[in-house]
Symmetry: C2
């Protein structure tokens, strides 16, 4: 049998600290107005007695939990998953600094995520949501808009930027700017023939990253290099690169991810081209370990942008904007930076 | 200006759904006793009105938030950080399945972590804690014990196993079993000379992993191989391994981490020994990408063990055990498994 203690009350704490009930309440609700020595005495009494004042009561008064719900994907492995984790780490750190709580939940599908958000919202356990991995036709957006739950997404509203879908607040990384910087660097340091290894066409994120490579080539007046395709998989990328190297050696390869870059690097090493410049995307520990340059998404900047949009000027979580005439910014586009190795 | 709507009340929902106030309350608190069609009608009304019933009121009644606080380290980069992230992912997933919430917080030091836990506890926002990265003389343990906050640690109470320190519930990975399995595999498949690349002596985790290697050699009657030391750093590991390979080539190298294994592998490749068997620890994406065997910690098992200990047989978060006569298990030691590549 495991024993449960009787819960201490606010009167127990007051008696133990030799102060009034009101003073204990002040320490909990308005510590700034209590002398430091008194505050310390009450804190010690709270610790000794294991008193938990149930902020639930405070919440009923303030009608806010100051808690943000954040989706934490089931762990899928892979090289680039670390970017989302870094984002959650950074968000947690910055939210803590602002006195906000972060509640994480898992969900296997957008529908399940909606169900989880509904439970948390109905329970008064969150008063805002941060969603990640937006996609064209994302059902979460419509639900959140209809429900009036404040939210910000890490990821832009792909496919609906120019439509009249309800405005939503988002932060994203400018992928095209990242591959543009990578390609410009390759043109200057390696040579005029820069290939691109990306995912099969049709993914919004992938097409965006390909665009940056193409734009840099056009701007420099360079000829278009080879365009290689592989799924997000080291071995697939290795094989595609091997075939390409067999047909001709580029001066450099810019990749849509570190996973692709590792595959390309292993291919290059296996044919004696260990020094072929290959630039990845995401700046993961793998790229660092192998000494590959990579585009850094700066998830810490993304987390800062998310909180800025969520809290607005008021320093409190704000409701979604009712119309487009609002002067406050509705999104933040973070410019990634190239880490050269 | 951002607009905030007037909050809907339970009466608004009842009117909208055409049911009684009690029925709405039942849907929220005991949905099992409400007909499905009625439940759906109430849910729709709740959605339409954006009603949030403030479980705070429920919490005051039940005196429990069903929320676990989990420390999320500031992101430190590196190869092996992914293990703790996998643990948090798995814990979130399993907790969600059991109807528990997971609240993450960041803290830069054990002292700061204690302050955060105190805030969360005082606010009634968590009713249990999961701590990670325990160490000898860890101040968090004494605080948690004194405070009576239920907790489980991922990491054993290093240095106090045999002392009369208050019992604490923990889950850990049997590091020695992992390196033992790795060494046995190397002895069978590579040869009798198996070196060990670990951290400088004196770290509890590192010494434990070294012990497994030594035990496997003794059990097999093999001679002790070289014992190499490096800090947790790819380049440091590479240099140490280069020097060792210069003095003589072992049949295999068992490493205390994937970071060390990557360094050893890069050293081997650079002297034409790309096929030298090198076994890492943590089974990170880097080991997978480079095709290195590695010991997998099974963070999903750890998360399962943590919840099992935390919730006990009762299926509810339990208070810490008051004495050692308790028949329930006080810890879970997860046996890692070798992933051969």
């Amino acid at each position: 049998m495991r024993r449960v203690r009787r819960a201490a009350t606010i009167d127990d704490v007051a008696r133990e600290a030799g102060v009034s009930r009101q003073t204990v309440s002040n320490v909990l609700n308005a510590p700034g107005i209590v002398r430091e020595s008194t505050r310390e005495r009450v804190r010690l009494a709270i610790d000794r007695l294991g008193y938990a004042p149930h902020a639930s009561a405070r919440r009923l008064r303030t009608q806010r939990s100051s808690t943000i719900g954040v989706h934490l994907d089931p762990f899928a492995g892979g090289i680039s998953g670390v970017v989302l984790d870094r984002f959650v780490h950074a968000l947690t750190e910055r939210a803590s600094d602002r006195g906000l709580r972060v509640l994480v939940y898992s969900a296997g599908s957008p529908e399940e995520e909606i169900a989880r958000l509904r439970d948390l919202r109905e329970g008064g356990e969150i008063d805002a949501a941060v969603i990640t991995g937006t996609f064209s036709g994302d059902p979460r957006i419509g639900w959140l808009d209809a429900r009036g739950l404040p939210y910000v997404s890490f990821g832009r509203p792909w496919g609906s930027e120019t439509s009249d879908a309800p405005l939503h607040l988002w932060v994203d990384v400018d992928g095209a700017a990242g591959t543009r910087a990578a390609t410009e660097h390759a043109l200057v340091t390696a040579g005029a023939t820069v290939a691109f290894l990306g995912w099969p066409a049709g993914s919004a994120t992938g097409d965006d990253r390909e665009r940056g490579w193409r734009e840099a080539l056009v701007a420099a007046g360079a000829e278009e290099g080879a365009r290689l395709f592989a799924e997000e998989d080291v071995q697939a990328a290795r094989q595609v690169t091997l075939r390409a190297l067999d047909a001709g050696e580029p001066d450099a390869i810019v990749c849509a991810s570190d996973t692709l870059a590792v595959g390309a690097h292993l291919a290059a090493v296996s044919v004696g081209l260990a020094e072929l410049p290959i630039i990845g995307f995401d700046n993961t520990p793998v790229a660092e370990a192998l000494g590959l340059s990579s585009v850094e998404q700066r998830p810490e900047k993304v987390a800062g942008g998310v909180l800025e949009l969520l809290m607005g000027d008021s320093g409190r979580v704000v409701a979604p904007r009712a119309d487009a005439s609002d002067a406050a910014p509705s999104h933040v586009l973070v410019t990634p930076r190239l880490v050269v190795r």
